[in-house]
Symmetry: C2
Subunit: 196 residues, 2 copies
Amino acid sequence: MPAHHATTPDPPRRRADAERSIARILDAAVDALAGDPEASMAQVARQAGVVRATIYVHFPTREALLEAVTHRAIAEVARVIDAAEPDRGPPAEALGRVVTETWRTLGRYHALVAVNTEQHGAEALRDRHASVLDKLHPLIERGQADGSFRSDVPVAWHLSMLLALMHAAGAELGAGRIGEADAGPALAATILGALA
Amino acid sequence: MPAHHATTPDPPRRRADAERSIARILDAAVDALAGDPEASMAQVARQAGVVRATIYVHFPTREALLEAVTHRAIAEVARVIDAAEPDRGPPAEALGRVVTETWRTLGRYHALVAVNTEQHGAEALRDRHASVLDKLHPLIERGQADGSFRSDVPVAWHLSMLLALMHAAGAELGAGRIGEADAGPALAATILGALA
């Protein structure tokens, strides 16, 4: 720890320290889960280079830690979707861009997705992804309006299929049935085909 | 109970009775789960018109009962796929036929599928469906060979996406986001698009 910790820190500094500590724990949790989906709090602590008690200060249970990691990952995906500009250009092209960028981001999180998929039913998963799916809603509507996407099903159908395909692709990659370089393009083609 | 039960039944008769009893319990379990995915052994017994002890004779735990129900449902789907003749006619047409018939059969089992999806990860689900997916393997290969289905991905990818879309469609129907009459055709179109 840096020397200034020995002096009494002012509250903003203390808050910043806590935030950094939380970020380090969440990063460590992502890495630990990637190595072992059953990773314990002790393994996460080791990975983060902190004592276990430090983790428990912020996350009283492993479940709470998983929730926080998931929440942060979904928020990251939401930012990535915004950056991919879903409202720009032809709908199929825009969706291809969004899927490719999202998939790239998910690269770090496949193990986390697998853990979540195993622990929650379809409805709970959909609820968790509401903030992300909401961002795609206007794009799907736009594509239905101009004939790029099928309009004989509700927008919700397309969004659920997209989510299911994303997660299934992660499982294929995790099981080694497809290579990392092939999975992204295959996923984009599969999703665009499913919606067209 | 019929009167002949009062006499000492010969072993084949006893076996037939046991099989009928098991079938009645499995049917009741399917119906009870459809009404309440958390249905207890007591609810299943009530539905089957037997005392709880009779169920426990055949299924020592609720988990064992769910396994048996799942096993029987998947065997039923396998028979339905055979009857739909996946090897007959153009691959896209054959797959459309198989999907439509499978979906019709799944009508009884959406709650069971939801329970299973909630309890097992993607790999475990895929393993459980191996007997069914194996039946579709030659059809997907045939479609890849004649250009009906994309051949830049392994057959396993197409099969996993198909399974994921089937289950996601069941969830959409269960959540009431699509009607029963629309779900089947929408699913067939989505799957054919995803593979094309």
